[in-house]
């Protein structure tokens, strides 16, 4: 009988399954058992594919026994954020609008995981349509942080991060438009990687902000994140924005320290508005990297703060355009018929019933900033500031290889603590600019801090230039080797 202690990290599990030392089916059973016990409280999953996952595990075991070659993720149980299209089950975006939606096709990143013999274990809850930073804006109820269920897991990839932290999967897929992979990873003590814009195909990702969205892994270690990225990254004919750049295969070189690594520490990142424990974690990480042979370089990123204003113009503008497709006509929720109602009234009622408050708020901001008379003052200006932010990163990366800072200004906050939308938006200050500029970023656990009788994970973020994922991951591994991981959240 397998126990909790048997839930290995992804790379260990895959090695054990591929060599026949462990059964993939037993691995699935262990994860399903944990979901059964823990997810009633946490609510990470909207749907779990128990029978299909067990069958997939059995098939992998059979192939291993008969000496067939298995893929690089053989037996790994993957949780998929519910804004990625899967043939199995529904794809709801945690929205009433898509409550019953079954996708006729599968996202490229999911296809690639399955082709690598990973097993899709279920679909995870998110802030509706990936809009939110707490996991509280899910139509199926609030998602909870496994380190302290009174607190939020972060968002929008809330269920994905919480599932990894609680050991309800080996790894998860998230999506990041303004920090939605990195911030929940930080709140839950996981590694969360946002790849560069264009690195991973978005085919099958329900569009939110098309010039920002990226898919990436949430994992228990840098090595696990790296393994998954190598499988999902690369050109896809079905996504015109996917880059034709070759995918770097790190293999054993992940363990090699980056010689002469220059780590930029932006003055603006150690703001006094941050929780002191967060700033202390960043300083500890700087010291750890220095001890590992890196040089710390002071840099300036004065546009850090204006990133929030820029993001909350560009992202809602793109969202208002992307979400126009949800009109209740071709698919999704349609309001019940009312005699004498015209088409426009049907659109309005279907949207009114289908969308939650945060989604409505963003659509309204988006249509406002795009409206005639305000377009130049808001939208065009945000796109100009976007270029300045990208150029500011370019200049910083002339002086350093990676940037170090916080992922979020605070550790996980209590459920219900952020009542007004603006204060919630301000939590994204350290993550939005990587999306705005299209560079890559990663959140790495940096110990825990005791708050209200619970140990809460702390995290730091590293950012690197576009398509420098290899460098970013090697620098992350250097940091992880010194600081260690925080392990799984205590099971309750």
């Amino acid at each position: 009988m397998a126990t909790d202690a048997d839930l290995l990290e992804l790379h260990e599990h895959v090695a054990a399954v591929s060599s026949g030392r462990r059964s993939a089916e037993e691995g699935v059973r262990l994860v399903l058992d944990r979901i059964e016990r823990l997810d009633r409280t946490l609510r990470c999953y909207h749907e779990v594919f128990a029978a299909e996952a067990l069958a997939a595990g059995r098939e992998i075991d059979r192939r291993v026994r008969s000496g067939e070659k298995v893929g690089p993720l053989a037996g790994a149980c993957v949780a998929v954020k519910d804004n990625l299209a899967t043939r199995l089950g529904r794809t709801t975006c945690s929205s009433r609008m898509l409550e019953h939606w079954r996708s006729p096709y599968e996202a490229t990143c999911v296809e690639r995981l399955v082709a690598a013999d990973a097993i899709v274990i279920g679909k995870t809850n998110l802030d509706e349509f990936a809009m939110g930073s707490s996991g509280e804006h899910c139509a199926w109820g609030v998602i909870r942080n496994p380190w302290d269920p009174r607190r939020v897991p972060g968002g929008s990839s809330a269920g994905s991060a919480a599932a990894v932290a609680a050991g309800l999967c080996h790894v998860a897929l998230g999506s990041d438009t303004g920090g939605s992979i990195r911030q929940p990873a930080a709140f839950c003590g996981c590694v969360g990687l946002k790849p560069s814009y264009g690195r991973v195909s978005r085919w099958g990702l329900v569009a939110f902000g098309s010039s920002l969205d990226q898919v990436g892994p949430i994992a228990r270690s840098v090595r696990d994140a790296s393994l998954v990225l190598e499988v999902i990254a690369g050109e896809d004919r079905r996504d015109a924005t996917s880059a034709r750049m070759p995918v770097e295969r790190l293999g054993g070189s992940l363990e090699e320290p980056v010689e002469g690594l220059r780590v930029g520490l932006p003055r603006e990142y150690l703001s006094e508005a941050n929780d002191p424990a967060v700033n202390a974690a960043v300083r500890r990480a700087a010291e750890a990297l220095e001890a590992a042979g890196a040089t710390i370089v002071a840099v300036d990123l004065p546009l850090t703060e204006v990133g929030i204003s820029t993001y909350y113009v560009i992202a809602p503008a793109e969202a208002s355009s992307n979400l126009a497709r949800f009109d209740g006509i071709r698919y999704g929720h349609r309001a019940a018929p009312v005699a004498g109602e015209d088409l426009a009234e049907l659109y309005a009622r279907s949207r009114g019933e289908g969308f939650g408050d945060e989604v409505k708020r963003r659509i309204m901001i988006g249509t406002y900033v795009l409206s005639s008379g305000y377009y130049d003052a808001y939208y065009r200006r945000a796109l100009q500031v976007r270029r300045l932010i990208a150029e500011e990163f370019d200049r910083a990366f002339e002086r350093c290889d990676v940037l170090l800072g916080p992922t979020a200004p605070t550790p996980a906050f209590p459920i219900g603590a952020q009542q007004d939308p603006l204060s919630m938006y301000l939590c994204d200050v350290y993550t939005v600019n990587a999306d705005i500029a299209g560079i890559c970023g990663i959140s790495i656990p940096a110990g825990t801090t005791a708050v209200d009788g619970a140990a809460l994970p702390l995290a730091v973020q590293l950012q690197a230039p576009a398509f420098a994922e290899g460098l970013l991951l090697r620098a992350s591994r250097m940091l992880e080797q010194v600081m260690g991981t925080v392990g799984l959240a205590p099971a309750r």
């Binding site: 939606w101 079954r102 006729p104 096709y105 560069s196 814009y197 264009g198 010039s211 920002l212 050109e235 004919r237 015109a240 924005t241 880059a243 034709r244 750049m245 546009l303 703060e305 204006v306 929030i308 204003s309 909350y312 113009v313 209740g328 006509i329 071709r330 698919y331 999704g332 929720h333 349609r334 018929p337 109602e341 015209d342 088409l343 408050d357 409505k360 708020r361 309204m364 406002y368 900033v369 808001y378 065009r380 200006r381 945000a382 796109l383 100009q384 500031v385 976007r386 270029r387 300045l388 990208a390 007004d420 939308p421 603006l422 938006y425 999306d435 705005i436 500029a437 299209g438 576009a466």
Partner: protein
């Protein structure tokens, strides 16, 4: 919600404080050239989704059509 939106818009107004003289707007983070150039498919029919599968997902369907309320009124 009215108050929420007013607060957000007033925060967004900080964009006015940035000098953008002569700055070209940036629509997306990476120029096509940085991603290996624009991708143009050859003009040949490829794999498409099954029409029946799509129609089956429409909220209200009539035969091979998706049904909607009357769009044109008697006066149109």
């Amino acid at each position: 919600m009215r108050n929420d939106l007013a607060a957000v818009l007033s925060h967004i107004d900080r964009l006015r404080g940035v000098d953008c003289t002569g700055v070209e707007p940036m629509n997306q983070p990476l120029a096509a050239s940085a991603r290996g150039g624009n991708r143009l498919d050859s003009d040949e029919p490829g794999e498409t989704l099954d029409v029946e599968a799509i129609l089956a997902r429409a909220p209200v369907r009539e035969g091979t059509f998706i049904a909607v309320p009357k769009v044109l009124t008697d006066g149109d």
